[in-house]
Assembly symmetry: C2
């Protein structure tokens, strides 16, 4: 049983955009664009801390069943976030169903990892069944994404919601009750402090 | 978004047996036998509440790398628990690697579901990779285990530790800080009360 210092791979589930907007009397879809700046701030924090790899839940195939203004809004927010971190310097991989109109064109260049720097796996038009279906041909479709040490979810939900099931099997799961647009750097600090206190047994 | 009443399938991760023993100055392996009575009490509670299906984490292939007295002790505890719930009335299925000496002989009869009553999926000599490897032949090996609504883990750990990754994708995750041998019925009551307050979105 050993205690670890810094997680080598963190997963982020930035949930609560719609509830954040509704609490402010805004249309639900307005919430997504207020999630971009927090995402960039979190990205910069992870770079500064020297986290080698992060995975970010953009949107899922299930999400594309939502009302049309919401779909347009989260697609636009995901594209803006992804292109901006690529511009700032990241080894960016988009993980999701490629042969589908639901994947924004701007993200297609990242079907193979592009760029140098912190590894960012951005899940867009992702679905856990699509991912695991790759095993029928020998490997999961997210095969380039390593095992997660820590998952941080905003918005209070205590579930994975289909997030990278294979990479999540041994990950510690930290929940922030605040909605994602209310992200503060302390959230990550608290998650990392908590993480250091967890035992790592891997069943041994 | 709908709110649910009773979970139709609950997963239980009864962790903390060794730490419980160590806190009492007992050898670690002594902890496991103190987990049997709590398991039977929880089983009776679920039957009384009308929960249709439960999955219980017995032991994993990783666990069989532990010290020999521990292996003997958790195997014995798992056999005693499983045979007793079969005797009391359950539709019992043992899920784990069958062609292996690590699976106790007494459990081999349950490689196909036996008996009538509440469905109990008991994971013994289980490993998530073994489970998913079934997809290469078309289906996961735990194909008879339905999707989980709720997972309850004792012992404070906030991770799945390889527990049924496919069935866990949408499950709500409730953590009890007490060690498993200190199980009290209130733990389940609290988990169910919490569960009713969770929103069910499935990404829609």
């Amino acid at each position: 049983m050993t205690r670890r210092a810094l997680p080598q791979h963190i997963g982020f589930i930035p949930d609560g955009n719609r509830r954040w907007a509704a609490h402010r009397g805004l249309p639900k879809e307005e919430g997504y664009r207020f999630g971009i700046e927090p995402g960039l701030a979190l990205f910069e924090l992870c770079k500064k801390l020297g986290i080698p790899e992060v995975s970010v839940y953009g949107f899922t195939q299930d999400n594309t069943k939502r009302a049309s203004p919401q779909i347009q809004a989260f697609r636009a927010a995901c594209v803006e976030f992804a292109l901006e971190i690529a511009r700032r310097g990241a080894a960016l991989l988009v993980v999701g169903k490629y042969g589908s109109s639901q994947l924004p064109d701007e993200l297609r260049a990242f079907q193979t990892r592009q760029g140098e720097g912190i590894k960012v796996n951005f899940l867009a038009n992702y679905h856990w069944e699509w991912d695991l279906a790759g095993l029928a041909e020998g490997e999961i479709r997210s095969r380039e994404v390593s095992q997660l040490d820590l998952i941080v979810r905003w918005g209070g939900g205590r579930r994975l919601s289909g997030f990278l099931p294979v990479q999540s099997v041994y990950a510690d799961f930290y929940v922030v009750d605040d909605y994602w647009p209310d992200f503060r750097p302390e959230h990550l600090d608290q998650a990392l402090t908590w993480f250091k206190q967890q035992d790592r047994t891997l069943g041994g």
